[in-house]
Amino acid sequence: MAAMFQGVGAAAALSSLHSNSFDSKNFLFSPRRSFSVRKAPSFVVVRSDGTMNLDLNPEGRRAQQFIANAVATKEDISAASSSKPGHELLLFEALREGLEEEMERDPRVCVMGEDVGHYGGSYKVTKGLATKFGDLRVLDTPIAENSFTGMGIGAAMTGLRPVVEGMNMGFLLLAFNQISNNCGMLHYTSGGQFTIPIVIRGPGGVGRQLGAEHSQRLESYLLPIPGIQMVACSTPYNAKGLMKAAIRSENPVILFEHVLLYNLKERIPDEDYICNLEEAEMVRPGEHVTILTYSRMRYHVMQAAKTLVNKGYDPEVIDIRSLKPFDLYTIGNSVKKTHRVLIVEECMRTGGIGASLTAAITENFHDYLDAPIICLSSQDVPTPYAGTLEEWTVVQPAQIVAAVEQLCQ
């Protein structure tokens, strides 16, 4: 079984160089070529026998094998020989690697948050970094989210590049004042004088019976804030890539991680790479229906995809990754091809990412739709503690299968 990676190699390095040279007052754009990586994503297909193809035509490959799992399963790993390029790690290690590499690359990059230093981070994302970089660069803060997030913003305004960790994204509700008013607004209200190259990250989402307050999805609360970007990682590959891109970005970026995805394992490239902050990720090309998802729900979707394929359907699965702004190009191309859209998200139904996405698709691609958009979201309830209730709160693969069958009638 071939494990497929999205290797963007040199093209990504080129586009990242250009993204760093952006000046808000001077729109000098790099030549079309550097953006062409979006129009025809190149895939490095690594086969189990160790040979590689650089595949520039994803269309042609659809007839070949597809990923049944976004995550390399045990069989894949054992089949892979040590001559395979790249190295294997877990998602939280990928985040750490990305963070560490950026801290080595730029001494202005620093981390602040609760228990990020000596404790190594409550999800081990910053493990070992305090020993390596010192207590000031990996700062253990008191429990004062609003103030230390504001402190991060002040440090960003005056020349540092902080990465603020919310121990749980839900805790950042206490920092809402700073995120909305200052993080999002100050570049604008100062007339462009101050930039806020801050990254705010942390785990959110529904875990295993963590209770209502530890199971929140903040992406919908933060979505309307002007001036920020939001991305959600879902694999070790894009976790590291998005972390690095977020740190290098001149904009404030909020990186949403998920409590249940930290132990995902994947083989990622050795060389330096980033993932474009504004792009969505094609997980599985298909013909019949476009399924848009992000974060943990990607795995429920892929599980449902197995069932769907066995039933004869050919779903196209896109991990939108960029929650703000939406990648309307990738999404639009898919809608134009399949004419049917299913959104699967963990956000609440009311005012969630899916609601916004439904509106954006309807506005831009209405003529291409053969059926109303179906949006599967979590129930509008505070996440219950009981395991059974919690399971019914989030979207399960069976519901996804049913929704696709309904869409494709």
Partner: protein
Amino acid sequence: MATAFSPSKFAAQPFPLNTTSQNNPLTIPTTASPFLGSTRKLIRLSSSSNLNLRRRSGTVVKENKSQSTPNLLITKEEGLELYEDMVLGRAFEDKCAQMYYDRKMFGFVHLYNGQEAVSTGFIKLLKQQDFIVCTYRDHVQALSKGVSARAILSELLGKATGCCRGQGGSMHIFSREHNMLGGFAFIGEGIPIGTGAAFRSKYKRKVLKEADCDHVTLAFFGDGTCNNGQFYECLNMAALWKLPIVFVVENNLWAIGMSHLRATSVPPIHKKGPAFGMPGVHVDGMDVLKVREVAKEAIGRARRAEGPTLVECETYRFRGHSLADPDKLRDPAEKAHYAARDPITALKKCLIDNSLASEADLKAIDKKIDEVVEEAVEFAEESPVPPKSQLHENVFADPKGFGIGPDGRYRCEEPKFAEGTALD
């Protein structure tokens, strides 16, 4: 003789709880022995303790006469600089009021009349690379820091030539050049920003090894802010990490219509400093020389990496909270009491009495400032308003943040983006 420099006579009187200024204005704020107690605390940390104690409890005038050689706190040049800065602040604010009532300026405008000694006393000791952060009552601190009157006035009129391109307004004055970090509408939210700037100074010194980075941050805010969580959280963090910051409380006794005494369980704000491990000092905020002396001490502490200081300046705003505030709750007797302690009149008297400047010198400064303000008005009125194309600029430092449109181009690449209509 009650001069503006008389020491506070309030020390012995007990705290009147639950009073408004209708009762006895003279027994109100910041009274009680902590005044001297906290000053003593600061003095213990300073090397020239005896001398400072003498200066703080006396007046400049009295000391001068009691010593054989003049031992003035300022030179003539410094005195004139302080005078000019305060007059600029006063004239500018008065001009704002005039333009507001002439319906040329709109929105919420919060004026600083009466509090000039705090801004001038502190900020004139700073270097350009030092940072300041304020609340919405920020015009005069910006002027003291060096932002030009024309840039601020243009901003207040919403013109494209304003310091923030007309996008910030009265409550959001920013200047990268002069390291003015804002201008914040929600009280308390600027204090963490200032704490971050102080953190950056320490980071530069310790991590980036720029040994000469001794930049100090001043955070200005009022008595109302001192009941807000962010204030306490930042006192804690600043003391914990010994950040080079001075927390300057402009205690003008009123948060719109809420008297400080009605809102605060323990009114002396400077007392809260030692609770967090930093010196807390109370100073007469109507006396620019006293403020300056305390400021020297506090800023010096920060520059020497000895940590933060909390300075409570007892001051008063002569006008309402904003130009929209009818200001009916404050007792006229209280207002009269503080009007008699006008910091500008007091400094003028001090300079003349000590032969540091003549009436003519000061009048020349008055005239010069009038011209500066008039010129600023002309410039602002003649400046253009921002065009529609400016609407989406500066939302993102990197405009790729607007995302990729359906046609595959980044939204900011679309031709209509420059017209401000691409995102309709």
